[in-house]
Amino acid sequence: MIDILLILLSISLLYMSISNRLASYLQILVLQGLILFGTTYLTLTEVNTLNLLLIMLETLVFKAIAVPWFMNYVIKKNKITREAEPYLPNFISLLIVTLIIVFAIILASFMNNEHLDKTFFVVAISTIFTGLYLIVSRKKIITHVIGYIVIENGVMVLSLAVGNEMPMLVNLGVMLDIFASVLILGIFFNKIGDVIKDPDVDLLSNLKDN
C-alpha cells in the first residue's frame, strides 16, 4: 500500500514536469499533501499517538490545504498569468525528470543497507531533485515557491523512512517545513506581491556582478 502511494507521488512528479498551468501545479501539491498524509499514517506505526497526530495534521492541513490555498489566493490577487513559463520545452522536462528518477534508482542500487526501504529513498531523492529542477527551469517566483514545497515533500518522505526510530527528526522536518514555508511565503505575500505585479524572476535579477 505504501509503495503504491509513493509510486503515485513520483507519477505526480512526472505530471508536474509537463503541466503548464499554475492551477495544475497547485492541484498536484494538494495531491502530494494527501499522499503524504496517507503515507505518514501507514508508516509511523511505532510513534506515540500525539506526535503522530501532530505530524498528520501538519501534512493534511498545512501541506494539502493551507499552502495551496494561499498560493491560489496570491495568484488571484496579483493577477499572475496562469502560465508556468518554463525555459525548456515540456518534453525535455519530462525526459530530465525521468532521468532524475533513474538516477535515484541507480543511486539506491549502490547502497547495501537492509534497514531502509529503498522505495522511500528513491522517491524522496527523485522528489527533492525534481523540486530543484522545477525551480531552476521555471521563470516565475511563484514556481520557485512551488518547487520548494515539492522539495519539502521529498524531505518529508525521507524523514518518514527513519521516522519510527527517530521521531524527533520527523518533528524537526515538520518544523523546518512550517518555518521555511512561512518565512518564504510571508516575504512573498507581504512584500514581493505588493512591490511587483506579475512577479517574474527577471525583475529580481539586478544584484549581479557581470
Partner: protein
Amino acid sequence: MIVLFLIGTILIICGLFFNKNRTVNYLLVSLYVVLLWCLGVYECFHLNQTEFTFFTADSLGLLLLLVLCIVAVPALYHGYRYLEKHNLGETPHSRGIFFGSMVLLITSCGVAYLSNHIAVTWIFVEITTLSASALIYHHRTMRALEGVWKYVFICAISITFIYVGILFLSLSMKGAGIEDMSFTSLYQNRLLLDPYWLKLSFLFIFTGFSAKFGLVPMYTAGIDAKDKAPAPAGALLSSILMNLGFVGVYRVYGIMVQTPVQEWARAIMIISGLLSIFVAAVYMTRIKNIKRMFAYSGIEHMGLVVLGLAVGGIGVYAAILHVLLHTLVKPTLFFQYNQIYWIYQSKSVNDIGDYFKYNKTGAILLLLAFFSATAMPPSGLFVSEFMIFQSLFESHHVLMLLVVVLLLTLIIWGFGSNIFKLLFTPLEKELERSRIPHISPWESLSQYVLLAFSVYLAYNPPMEMVNLINNAVRIIQ
C-alpha cells in the same frame, strides 16, 4: 547559564521589539552585551561541561564565542552610529527590529557554536537565517527586497540540504544501531557508521553549510546579503555567521576522520576551497562595488580556511587561527565602509576617491586594514596563511600551492587597485566641503583596536589560546 542566557535574550528581544523609547533601547542592548560577556566568561571557567544536555563549551566553541563577544560590542555600537546617520525613515519601530534581530543573530550564532548536537545546531542556523533576513531588509528598498528574497530562498534550500544530510547521517547510525546523535557519541562510534550514508550525509551537510560558510557552491546569495545589509550587520554576516558555517563543517568533518570516507571528504573540501578562491579572484579583479569586494575577500579567506582544514597537519591549526583572525579583521573593513559611505554617498569605486584627503584617520585605517585583509606581513592573517601554505607544502600539494599563490596575487592586485583608487586618486569633481560630514577620529578607534588585537594574537599568541586551538584540533586528529 545557557538557559539563563537564552531566556534573558528572549526577554531583551521582546523588549526591543515593543519598546519605543531610545534610552530604554540603549539600556536593553547594553544589558545584552553584559549578558553576552557573562556567558563568555562563564564558559571560560566551565570548559567541556555539558549543560541542558545539548550545549557543551568545547575549546572550538569557546574560542569562537569569545571572538564573537569581542566583535559584537563594536558592531552594536556602530549600529547606533549607523542609525543616527541614516535617519531617513528610521522609526523607533524599525530601530527596535534592527537591534532585536542583531541581538537574535548574535545569540543564535553564539549558542550554535556551543551546541553539541547537530540537530540543535541546525535549528539555530535556521534562526540566523530569520534574523539575518530581517537585517538585510532593513532598508525597505527594491534591491534590499531582492537581496533578502535570494538570501532567504537559498538559505532555505541549503538548510533543507543540511536536514537531508542529517537524515542520511541518522540512516547510517541506524545501521550501526546508535541512538544518541550528539557529536561526542558520533565521534566515539565514527568507525561503526555506514560509509555509504556517511558520504551522502557529508556531501549534503557540506553543501548546505556552504551557504553560511561562504564557499562554492552556495556562496552566491551571501554576497548580495552582505552587500544589502547595513554595514554593521554586514560585518556580522561576514564574520560570525561565516564562523557558524565553519563550526558546522568542522564538527561534521570531525565525524568523517579515520573513516574510509575521510579522503573523499577531503577531496570535496579541497575542490570547493580552490573554486572559492578562484571565484574570489574572478570578481576581485573586475568588481567596482567596494562592499561586495569586501564580501568576496571573505569568500577567498574561507576558501583558504577550508583548504587548510582539508589538507590537515598544521593546516587545521592554521584554519582555526585564520577564522579567528578573519573574524577580527573583516568587520573593520565594513565599519570603515560606513564612514566612506557617509562621505561619498556611493559604494562604487568610480565615483569615490581621494579618501585620504577627506578623512585621514579612516584612510590610514583603511590602508592598514587592506594590508591586513590581504595577509601581507605584518598583518596577523599572514601567520595563519603562512601555516596554511606550509601545510600544503608539507603534504606535497606544491602545484596546488602555486595555483593558490597565483590567485591570491591576482586578488591582491584587484583589491589593491580599487583600494588605492579609493584612497588616493582625486575625483573628477571635488566634493563641496559643506556636504562632507565631519567624522571624528574616534569613530575609527574600534577598528584600530581590532586590527591591533589581531596582530597581537597572531604574533604573540597567549599560551591559553594556543592550548585551546590545539584541543580543538584534536577532534580532527
